[in-house]
């Protein structure tokens, strides 16, 4: 028995219609608003990328006048710089930090780049020089590295949990398993400020202080000018809180955004109050976040395959922006992001904390 042409035609029409529906469904999965660009940790076409198992990006910071800097974790720790201004367009591997396997924080001090790293022997602070603007990465270039030098190491081999630069005081405040430390960059002196009940991540306030959380007490603040630690400056709401939240600074007013363990978003203000919850992220954990210049807040949350969410402070709406995908530079899905910072034009840099990690540059949509 043969198959009639009209039966084939109608079968094909049905297939095409189904395909169109499936495409619409599948395309709703990935980055819906704004554009993501995944950039390999190299100068594409001119250098070899950082080895895949040394390329989990765990720290990012943008120098106010220069470039984005990052640090990786894995089989080895690398520091790198992303040069994307003008006729740039490369990531330069600044070198391996000897005997380190994790970069906890990267900080842009006035004269030097500082990184907090951990290795088998414990935590250390290292520094290296800033890269000058290169000549022209389309025509000719001369790029090189500065040495990476140790500033100080944590006594007794303690590991660093987090570190933040206090720019006015040009000092670094860091946490280890149980202590709060201060590193003076000019002298290189590292001393313990105090022991804390529970230590975790840190943020920089508008006033130039460092803040953190002790879940049993509330937020604490350290002022570098007076060398004073004030504990319980602000109570934290009932809920599930650990000391290691994801912090982000609102670039409009310097207020600090943070999450509890269930994904509720709060804002810490200059009045020492915690406003919120402003929104509830539906999946956890939140792993990276940053704001753009108009206050819109971009974050990744979720285990295994993270999703991007956008918080609009004008409407207090939180929207699901899908799974990260890049179709420019590298064609790639982004599943795990553990670092973020804001660029000078409001672009957000997300560090992919994954094997063969890329630096993802997110360009937010333009508000109408």
């Amino acid at each position: 028995m043969g198959i009639k042409k009209k039966d084939i035609d109608s079968k094909l029409a049905e297939e095409l219609q189904l395909e169109a529906e499936v495409i619409q469904f599948l395309q709703g999965t990935f980055t819906k608003e704004g554009s993501m660009v995944a950039f390999p940790l190299s100068f594409p076409g001119a250098s070899k990328p950082i080895p895949p198992d040394e390329s989990r990006i765990t720290a990012l910071a943008h120098h106010p006048d220069r470039f984005v800097y990052g640090g990786t974790s894995g089989a080895a720790t690398h520091l790198f710089v992303g040069i994307f201004a003008r006729s740039g367009g490369c990531i330069l591997d600044l070198g391996v930090v000897e005997a380190a396997t994790a970069c906890v924080s990267i900080m842009c001090a006035d004269d030097t780049l500082v990184a907090a790293v951990n290795g088998p022997a414990g935590g250390r602070f290292v520094s290296t020089g800033y890269q000058p603007m290169p000549r022209d990465l389309l025509q000719e270039w001369h790029l090189g590295r500065f040495p990476i030098e140790e500033i100080a190491s944590v006594p007794s081999g303690g590991k660093i949990t987090d570190a933040v630069l206090l720019p006015r005081a040009q000092c670094v405040i860091a946490t280890t398993v149980s202590a709060l430390l201060r590193l003076d960059l000019e002298s290189g002196d590292l001393r313990e400020i105090t022991q804390l009940d529970e230590v975790g991540t840190l943020a920089l306030t508008n006033a130039g202080s460092a803040i953190g959380i002790e879940p049993a007490r509330g937020l604490w603040r350290y002022d570098p000018e007076s060398d004073r630690l004030d504990r319980a400056i602000c109570a934290i709401p009932n809920g599930s809180w650990s000391a290691s939240t994801v912090w982000s600074v609102d670039s409009r007013d310097g207020s600090v955004l943070l999450f509890d363990d269930d994904g509720s978003l709060y804002r810490f203000t200059d009045n020492d109050t915690l406003d919120g919850p402003l929104a509830q992220v539906p999946i956890g954990p939140v792993t990276s976040a940053a704001t753009t210049k108009d206050g819109r807040f971009y974050l990744f949350a979720g285990d295994g395959i993270a999703k991007q969410f956008i918080f609009d402070p004008v409407t207090n709406a939180l929207t699901d922006n899908g799974v990260a995908v890049s179709v420019l530079q590298s064609r790639r899905y982004g599943y795990v992001f553990g670092a973020a910072c804001t660029g000078p034009d409001g672009q957000i840099y997300f560090g992919e904390t994954d094997y063969n990690g890329h630096l993802w540059i997110y360009f937010p949509s333009i508000r109408k």
């Binding site: 198959i3 084939i8 094909l12 297939e15 529906e21 198992d53 395959i305 790639r332 599943y335 094997y355």
Partner: protein, 347 residues
Amino acid sequence: MDKVVDDPRDSGRATQCKIHYSFAPSYGDGIMYMATHLSGPPLEDTAYSPWLSWHDDRKCFRGAALLAFDTATDKVLWWDTMFPREGCRCLVIDEDRGKLFSISYPRDHMFEYDLETRSARDLGRIGSVNAQALFIDRRHRVWTTRDDGRLVRYDPDIDRIEVSPTLLPFDPEHQNGWHNVLYDVTPAPDPNTLYAIPWIGHPRLMLIQPNEGDWGHIEDLGPVNQDHDLSVPISKDRDHAGGLVFAGDGMLYYVGARWSNPDSDRTPWTDPSMQGVIWQFDTQTREREEVGILQVPGEATHYVSRGAVDRNGDLFFGRVCPPPAGIFRVPLPDACKRRPVPRRPWG
């Protein structure tokens, strides 16, 4: 399958709908290891996206089910969820060391599964374009490809995934190596040699000798299908080849697509005009000959995924689309059945 692994088809989850390139035979004890893959949607849905539903406790695929199937008794000895939420793209067995290696989908991670402890270990992410084949060499290194067309291998001696400095062959006129990931790989009668076809438009047949030198020896044996309009990014579903298999005459056989519609035509790749051409490749002379065309009246026959030889020496080719999937049997004359055929411990 849904009954055996206790994941009912009407559960509301994406279903245990298929086994992809994930049959791995253990020749010593006759156990066929097989692992499931995803794509079938929950019962009430038209399609399934593992990215979209990753955090949906109701719909998300439960995870690839690994089964140990005793081919002597036709019984499932045991099963496990090899890894949660992901399907198994391809599978290979290291029989000597009692390990299975797989590529997960969608996250494209390589996993090691220990048959003694029945536990899985994530070895790391490969990329985004999931390769469709793994193979293993004499040194127990497990090989596959990355998005940019480089071979990668897991070396158990150093417990690390390494990346080749070179790219697999591609057409430099319109390609740059991206998406040149392995589709099908078959061992040759020479135990040091494999033949492979990638999953890319205008695929090329290649010879790989993974045990040679630092990163093996690779030879480009040329394109397997017709030329096409290079201004069109041709669909891999149209410009397809697969089913690599050595028969008892020492020849390499595979099925390549042939089409007559213009390359820019929007006709679906399941159009009945798509032909599956059986090629016979002489590895000594490097010449090939068309020896047959697969035919099903009113249906495309080009999308052959895998080839095999049964104990009688006849060829079999699996056709994936259009549905229903099926198997072609290609009987060979007795003169083509004299030599032993290589064993293939991967899917």
